[in-house]
């Protein structure tokens, strides 16, 4: 309703301006029409329960929690895993609910949903006019994991592509879909490469428990593998691998010291950021060795999410996992805490809209 009013106001304003100034139309730029309340800001998704989405405007002047619920009158599932953005749409992936709610990314009005054919969906990315969603299947079943291919016009699962256990992040690049296999309920050590024209799957072996991945300036795929934790009884080292995607081979591996298991990784402006033991580390994408000292000490928080944009590092603190979390904003330059916003319960993903 709010948005309808807004639209009407803008239309009226636009009409007024265009009519009243019809004489000197050359001098007047058409006004910037807002695409919605949630444009030009930071979107923080929280797993819950209750799951929720928060918005913070880029200038930090406007904040709103429970965006999805405020707009649509109902909560976005219980277990909000991630959001994917494509054109003017946002795809809200709720893993335990086996659903992806499709919204207008600027208004967050629900425009449909993928309700069939998913099982524990995790992440979505887009290529070839289609959505590619990683699915764990049954947690206890190592052999039923798949990528669901979504027809974006009908929101139906068009086909599924079987992959190895625990497909996690999905990244589309140049006609290929790259999937890190964190392992779901188990552990895995591969990256799947799907050719979207044939749906053929190739795999690349990387370090154990690969999670975040991105393309660096040189066009190499960079993957953070957290390594198997000590409790598995088979602890392995964490690493950052660089993959030449023309040959699908690992060309460089930076290995962490034994016992070090970095959590989140982000990439911005030629710099790699990751979190290890509540310290934020940064390194140039070309660095041949891992940094030895953290640039930011996050203190005693439960770091749950990391993102970097322009001059700031954004980190979510999940607190005790049973209360509202915080979004902490650190300045890259000074390393100081610039701002703190209260966000949702188990806030985990940070997006720039």
């Amino acid at each position: 309703m709010k948005n309808v009013l807004k639209f009407l106001t803008f239309s009226l304003l636009f009409a007024l301006i265009t009519t009243s100034c019809s004489d000197d139309k050359d001098d007047v730029l058409p006004p910037v029409v807002s695409l919605g309340d949630y444009e030009n800001g930071i979107i923080v998704s929280a797993e819950g329960g209750p799951a929720s989405i928060s918005f913070i405007s880029n200038d930090f002047s406007v904040t709103e929690n429970n965006v999805y619920e405020n707009v649509n009158g109902e909560a976005p599932g219980v277990y909000l895993q991630s959001i994917g953005f494509n054109d003017d749409k946002g795809y809200i992936v709720s893993d335990n609910v086996n659903i992806i709610n499709v919204v207008n990314r600027y208004t967050f009005e629900n425009e449909g949903a993928v309700t069939a054919g998913l099982q524990t969906p995790r992440y979505i990315d887009f290529a070839n006019g289609k959505g590619y969603v990683s699915n764990w299947g049954d947690g206890t079943d190592a052999n039923d994991d798949f990528i669901a291919v979504i027809n974006l016009a009908t929101n139906a699962v068009e086909t599924t592509i079987p992959v190895g256990e625990g497909p996690e992040r999905v990244l589309a690049n140049n006609g290929k879909i790259y999937v890190s296999h964190k392992g779901g309920w188990g552990n895995n050590n591969i990256v799947s490469v799907i050719d979207v024209s044939t749906n053929a799957v190739a795999t690349i072996t990387v370090g154990d428990v690969p999670d975040e991945l991105f393309f660096n300036s040189a066009g190499e795929l960079v993957v953070l593998s957290e390594g198997k934790a000590a409790w598995t009884g088979d602890e392995t080292a964490a690493s950052i691998s660089k993959i030449d995607v023309s040959t699908n081979t690992v060309v460089e591996t930076l290995t962490f010291a034994n016992g070090e298991h970095p959590g989140q990784m982000a990439f911005d402006n030629g710099t790699i950021y990751y979190v290890l033991n509540n310290g934020v580390y940064e390194m140039p994408e070309t660095a041949a060795a891992l940094p030895t000292a953290a640039v930011i000490d996050l203190g005693a928080i439960n770091t749950y999410g990391l993102a970097v944009s322009n001059e700031n590092i954004y980190v979510t603190d999940a607190k005790d996992f049973f209360s509202a979390g915080d979004l902490l904003v650190y300045s890259i330059d000074s390393g100081n805490l610039v701002d703190t916003f209260v966000v949702g319960v188990n806030a985990s993903k940070i997006y720039f809209n």
Binding site: P50, N98, D138, W231, H261, N277
Partner: protein, 611 residues
């Protein structure tokens, strides 16, 4: 199959024993009751013990959750009707309420708690609620209080049968059959019960339906007592429970899951009364098994299985005419294994000393217990209770105790995460109770204060979630109970009510624990005229927080649920009772757990036939 065989043998034994008993000895003797849990009588004088009557049980649905929700101050967090249900007794956690079966602690070895929807109340003939600390007597978890499921054996009761059948909304069938035979030396008691429900109610004010909520459970209890001679008697208790629940969904697109429980308990007890000595030897074997199917359509599941062998010897010595001393030695050996816990054995030995003396109007009881195990450091547990009777109508009780909740199998041995350095959670408790007792009115009120430290919580340490001793919680409040009975010629009126005020505060954050209401009350009015009765039950649960920061946005609203029932007794001895109930008559739209909506108005019919 094994259980089937066991039951077969059991019946053979019973029949053989029956045949040996001469039937003419049945007549003319007073009924004698052998209590399964003697501590409830002997060492619970300075605390409140509330025995739930048969009539109350008849009017309740089969789950222990429902029975206690309407008849005690205990709060229940129920994940939808019939689903996982955990108590908060005096503001404590689910692991801080002990459930005992004929005196033996039966909380799960894996998670340390009892799911109150996996207990069918029709298998027991005495269900009691004991408020406050009792770890010396009942072990781990007896912090907020304890629930006692007992099968008392009657002698000289003849042959009695009781049939209960209930059919209601959502295709719910609840049946129970109890058969008892007792002579002066032999007592046999068998109870079979089953409940099943489609549990597919539609939500109040919504088109939505409770999906995937079907459940059933069945239990068999068989108990035998045999008086060998005037001094010695043997009792054999046995119980098997088998249940399956489909866990209800919040969203229709969720993957449906199911959960199965199979529990069995057997205990042999030898009771000897030798002048000043009373000797009790108990040998018990308990098994618990669960399977969780994350997808109802697949065979894949996770599981847990624990077997516990327990031996307990209790020697009671009448020191003076008014004073008794008891020494207890027990050994509990558990073998447990689950999808996430490697096969692990644990042995706990315990030594207790109990003393009680009655001096005119003054009674005091003192207890001590030390457990020894190689798993963790076990604290010395104790209690001291004083009772003073001021005249005929007024009694004052003071009780102080130290209690604990031991780390569970999951806490200690969870693959990779288990923390073998855990300490038990410990609680210091004081309570002050007053009781007014008149012919028609009983009023009890108890103020309590609990200081609980080293609460075990799972927290991430790096990428790994591990249990650690962290929280410090103080709970305090008031429990009260009022009973009124008035008879005016053929008109009988009765009222029973409970009210509990509870503060349960994390000492670091100063916030109320989630899912602990400050106010909880229940009431029952009954009006009986000759063969007809009309009754009204009400439950009030105050608002609860669902987030630890006590964010008011995510509070669950308070709710009041009212039930109305009517009964009519037929037959010469009014042995045939027909009843009808309408539940949630005001169609309250409520949830016990966030997004887990409970049913609106629904109905059931029942009959209870004693023959």
């Amino acid at each position: 199959m094994k259980q089937g065989l066991f039951i077969g043998f059991f019946w053979c034994f019973c029949c053989a024993a029956w045949a040996q008993t001469s039937l003419d000895s049945l007549q003319q003797l007073d009924e004698v009751l052998l209590k399964a849990d003697r501590y409830l009588k002997t060492f619970s004088n300075t605390q409140s013990v509330n025995v739930l009557k048969d009539s109350v049980v008849t009017r309740s649905t089969a789950s222990l959750t429902n029975l206690l929700n309407y008849n005690s101050g205990i709060y229940f967090k129920e994940n939808g009707l019939g689903m996982v249900s955990s108590p908060s007794f005096r503001g404590t956690t689910a692991q801080q309420t002990a459930v005992t079966w004929n005196g033996i602690n039966i909380n799960s070895q894996f998670n340390g708690q009892t799911d109150f929807n996996t207990i069918n109340i029709r298998s027991f003939n005495d269900i009691s609620v004991r408020s406050g600390g009792g770890s010396v007597l009942y072990g781990s978890g007896a912090i907020g209080g304890s629930i006692h499921l007992n099968n008392n054996l009657t002698f000289n009761g003849g042959f009695e049968n009781s049939l209960y059948a209930n059919y209601g909304s959502f295709n719910t069938v609840d049946v129970g059959y109890t058969s008892r035979f007792s002579s002066d030396r032999l007592s046999v008691d068998v109870a079979i019960s089953r409940i099943q429900s489609d549990n597919d109610y539609t939500y109040v004010n919504s088109e939505k339906e409770n999906l995937n909520g079907a459940f059933y459970n069945q239990s068999l209890a068989a108990n035998v007592g045999y008086k060998i001679n005037s001094k010695n008697s043997l009792k054999l208790y046995s119980y098997v429970f088998d249940g399956e629940r489909h866990f209800s969904l919040i969203f229709p697109t969720e993957t449906p899951t199911k959960y199965q429980d199979v529990n069995s308990r057997t205990m042999l007890e030898w009771l000897g009364l030798y002048q000043r000595f009373t000797s009790t030897l108990k040998l018990a074997y308990l098994t618990e098994k669960y399977k969780y199917f994350p997808n109802i359509n697949k065979e894949l599941h996770t599981f847990g299985e624990a077997k516990t062998l327990l031996g307990k010897y209790n020697l009671e010595y009448k020191l003076l005419e008014n004073a008794t001393l008891q020494g207890v030695v027990d050994v509990t050996h558990t073998k447990g294994e689950s999808s996430s816990v490697n096969k692990t054995n644990r042995t706990i030995s315990g030594f207790s000393l109990l003393f009680k003396q009655q001096l005119k109007n003054f009674l005091y009881e003192a207890t001590l217990r030390q457990e020894v195990t190689n798993n963790y450091e076990s604290p010395l547990l104790y209690s001291l209770g004083l009772q003073y009777k001021l005249g005929k109508h007024y009694t004052v009780n003071v009780n102080g105790s130290k209690n604990f909740r031991i780390p569970t199998y999951n806490d200690l041995y969870w693959e990779g995460s288990g923390n073998t350095n855990l300490k038990p959670e410990t609680a210091y408790q004081v309570e002050f109770g007053q009781e007014l007792l008149f012919k028609h009115i009983t009023f009890k009120a108890t103020g309590f204060y609990n200081d609980i430290t080293d609460m075990i919580r799972w927290l991430p340490t790096g990428s790994l979630w591990r249990p650690i001793n962290t929280d410090h919680v103080v709970t305090y409040g008031l429990e009260s109970q009022l009973k009124i009975n008035v008879n005016l010629n053929a008109h009988k009126l009765s009222f029973g009510g409970h009210y509990a005020y509870t503060v349960s505060e994390n000492q670091e954050t100063k916030k109320q624990l989630i899912y602990v209401p400050k106010h909880k009350g229940s009431a029952m009015f009954n009006y009986q005229y000759k063969r007809a009765s009309l009754y009204y039950q009400a439950l009030f649960v105050g608002e609860v927080f669902t987030l630890s920061d006590n964010n008011p946005r995510y509070m669950i609203d308070a709710y009041t649920v009212s039930n109305l029932g009517a009964e009519y007794a037929l037959g010469k001895a009014q042995q045939f009772v027909l009843g009808v109930q309408a539940k949630n008559i005001f169609n309250e739209d409520y949830q016990s757990v966030a997004d887990r909506f409970m049913p609106g108005i629904h109905y059931n019919f029942y009959l209870n036939f004693n023959f």
